[in-house]
């Protein structure tokens, strides 16, 4: 049961990796990375139950947090083109560059 679920999640990850490798736009890649992180969380959870160690769930929770922070950082980079003190100097806020604008 858990083995089948793990296999299915891994197939999902393989498909996401195809999207990451090929992904025509940057947004495809951001979305693929985010869902890949979610799949990692799920896989750690199921692997924990598969090998009889459900305490892996704590680690899965930590991964979910890291994934969230990472995605926020990437999106902030998209919005402000920088990661430092974007809130202070608003004149540096530029529209996204054309090649990443259109999906």
């Amino acid at each position: 049961m858990f083995a089948a679920i793990s296999l299915l999640i891994f197939i999902c990850m393989a498909m996401l990796m195809v999207r990451l490798f090929a992904g025509p736009t940057l947004y495809d890649r951001v979305l693929a990375l985010n869902v890949f992180g979610s799949c990692t969380v799920l896989l750690i959870g199921t692997v924990g139950f598969l090998f009889g160690r459900p305490d892996f769930l704590d680690i899965a929770l930590l991964y979910a947090l890291i994934n969230f922070v990472g995605t926020i950082a990437v999106l902030k980079f998209f919005r402000y083109r920088r990661l430092g003190d974007a809130a202070d100097d608003t004149e540096s806020i530029m529209p996204p560059e054309p090649d990443s604008e259109e999906a």
């Binding site: 990796m17 490798f21 598969l50 990472g70 083109r81 990661l83």
Partner: protein
């Protein structure tokens, strides 16, 4: 099942590494290196090295992606195509990898109970921690008490590094310069 999962993850890892080497757009490279970190963290979890997996996910997929994105924001967004390809780096990498694999041949098997690392100080820690330190978690006892000075040094190094990074990316120098220009 565990072996099959490990092999699948290693195949995915190699595919990711090859794509990182081939892709020219640096943003895609950052995303792919995040995937690389997540995959290696999964492998560490499978090998029961949960704390290493924690660190790999937090540093590899979290912080270093953010720092590399910041670097891209400051520099260029795609890699320059090399004018000519040289085989020397490939030869060096293959040689180093071969030597490392040759070095592992003499090592004890993964998880072997009679490996030297399991025989030397480990049993002492396990036996003496309840009376010496009286902490239920032996790893905590080793890190915070037996190797307390070592941990203090590590914390100092990490704190200094964090301070340096915050000073670099906070734009303090830029702000001071701007204020000075405004005053002039």
């Amino acid at each position: 099942m565990e072996l099959a999962l490990t092999i699948l993850l290693f195949v995915a890892l190699v595919a990711t590494a090859l794509t990182i080497a081939l892709v020219r757009r640096l943003f895609a490279v950052v995303m792919l290196s995040g995937v690389f970190s997540l995959l290696s963290a999964l492998l560490f979890v499978l090998m029961d090295a949960v704390d290493v997996a924690f660190t790999e996910a937090a540093v590899g997929a979290g912080i270093s992606s953010v720092l590399m994105l910041g670097t891209i924001a400051l520099t260029a967004r795609s890699e320059k195509r090399p004018e000519r390809y040289s085989l020397v780096p490939l030869a060096v990498v293959l040689l180093t990898g071969g030597v490392l694999i040759y070095g592992t041949l003499d090592m004890p098997n993964f998880g072997a109970a009679d490996a030297p690392v399991q025989l030397h100080v480990g049993p002492d820690y396990i036996r003496k921690t309840p009376e010496d330190i009286d902490v239920p978690n032996i790893v905590t006892a080793v890190l915070a008490s037996y190797r307390g000075f070592d941990t203090l040094g590590e914390v100092t190094v990490v704190f200094t590094a964090g301070l340096g990074v915050v000073l670099l990316i906070s734009g303090l120098g830029r702000r001071i310069r701007r204020r000075r220009e405004g005053a002039d």
